[in-house]
């Protein structure tokens, strides 16, 4: 198999290419077309795994494994973390706000594709050497020999780059407290001075049926108050609206009971459940 992938393209590889290539393109398209960021990330991960298979098929065994382990496994997970942090349920509006941007973007994309295709088509890639000789001593060993001899400086510099990136990420996300945290007393005094909300904010949740933090608590007159929900959730727009849920539940119950009533032959066996539901 190793030898085979190195210098020929078998029929098997051709089949593999057409099938998985289609999957990769579909994954890429889904990445840019999905409304939710989390879906995009999953599609991209799929495309990456397909690419990993292609690397293997091209004799780049080390890269194929790295693609799966590091790229798909670590980097994409990092993406998912951030997506979660930003709000996993938030969906992008696909409506374009900049005039002509979409058409220009499509034009650019198509133009790029055409240009690259033309470039590849015009290039004289008749020669096809295969990796058999290069991979003779094993792919990983071959890579290692190159990295630690010919590319050793580049390798060291990428090490420095990684360290710098790590430090940079820390600097960017670290927030230094520039002033003393306010005490409870000061905050209450501030509240009194502002005169808006003298008592503490009301707690979320409708205790009769829900006690989740993403559900707005009801005011005495029965209307839900957004104030009761955590600020972060409010900003992400992740308040769950339960004002219609009770009615929906009721409707579903009525539906079910109607179904039961139309089938009296089953009533005997399910008496307990019916009673429970009718409560």
């Amino acid at each position: 198999m190793t030898q085979l992938a190195a210098y020929t393209t078998s029929t098997g590889e051709a089949v593999q290419f057409w099938v998985l290539g289609t999957v990769a393109v579909i994954g890429a398209l889904c990445t840019i077309l999905m409304k939710k960021a989390v879906h995009s990330a999953l599609c991209l991960a799929g495309t990456m795994i397909v690419l990993a298979v292609f690397y293997l098929a091209n004799g780049a065994y080390f890269l194929g494994i790295v693609q799966i382990v590091v790229y798909t496994g670590a980097i994409m997970m990092l993406f998912l973390f951030v997506v979660m942090l930003v709000g996993v349920t938030a969906a992008d509006s696909l409506k374009e706000t900049i005039k002509g941007q979409r058409w220009l973007a499509l034009l650019c994309g198509l133009g790029f594709a055409v240009l690259l295709f033309a470039g590849i088509g015009n290039a004289s890639v008749t020669q096809f050497n295969g990796l058999g000789k290069a991979n003779a001593g094993g792919n990983v060993e071959g890579l290692a020999a190159l990295i630690f001899t010919k590319y050793v400086f580049a390798f060291e510099i990428t090490g420095a780059l990684l360290i710098t990136a790590t430090v940079g990420a820390m600097v960017l996300t670290h927030r230094e407290r520039t002033e003393r945290a306010k005490t409870q007393r000061e905050r209450s005094e501030e509240r009194v001075r502002a005169g808006k909300h003298l008592p503490p904010l009301p707690a979320p949740g409708v205790y009769a049926r829900h006690n989740a933090v993403d559900i707005a608590g009801l005011l005495p007159d029965g209307t839900p108050s957004e104030l009761t929900v955590n600020k972060t959730l409010r900003e992400r727009g992740q308040i769950r609206d339960v004002s219609t849920e009770a009615l929906d539940d009721l409707r579903a119950l009525e539906q079910r009971s109607a179904d039961r009533l139309e089938r009296p032959d089953l009533r005997g066996t399910d008496i307990g459940r019916t009673e429970e539901a009718s409560k």
């Binding site: 091209n58 693609q67 190159l146 990420a169």
Partner: protein, 99 residues
């Protein structure tokens, strides 16, 4: 099959990624599209490596991955701090430079 098809696939993925960068507003998705473009390049490198019969292309792809990892770390940190200060991950919201 002609292995040049790998190159066509890489070009197609690159163009799709580029289009995505241009049309998406969510900074994270834009970032993913950039990763897609990088991966397309990597695929081209690997294909070239096979064509020329040496491992230099794979080495370059390897370095690309390392640099991409570094870039992801910094980029995501930027997105997080941007989200923290603006409560939004939209690249259009960070448009203070317009008049």
């Amino acid at each position: 099959m002609n292995p040049v098809n790998y190159l066509y696939l890489a070009a197609l993925l690159f163009a799709i990624g580029a289009t995505g960068v241009l049309i998406r507003r969510n900074a994270i998705v834009v970032f993913m599209c950039i990763e897609l473009m990088l991966n397309a390049c990597n695929l081209a490198f690997v294909a070239f490596s096979r064509m020329h019969g040496n491992l230099d292309g794979q080495i370059i792809a390897f370095f690309t991955m390392v640099v991409a990892a570094a870039e992801v770390v910094v980029g995501l940190a930027i997105i997080v701090s941007l989200f923290r200060s603006r409560h939004s991950a939209s690249v259009d919201d960070a448009s203070l430079m317009k008049l």
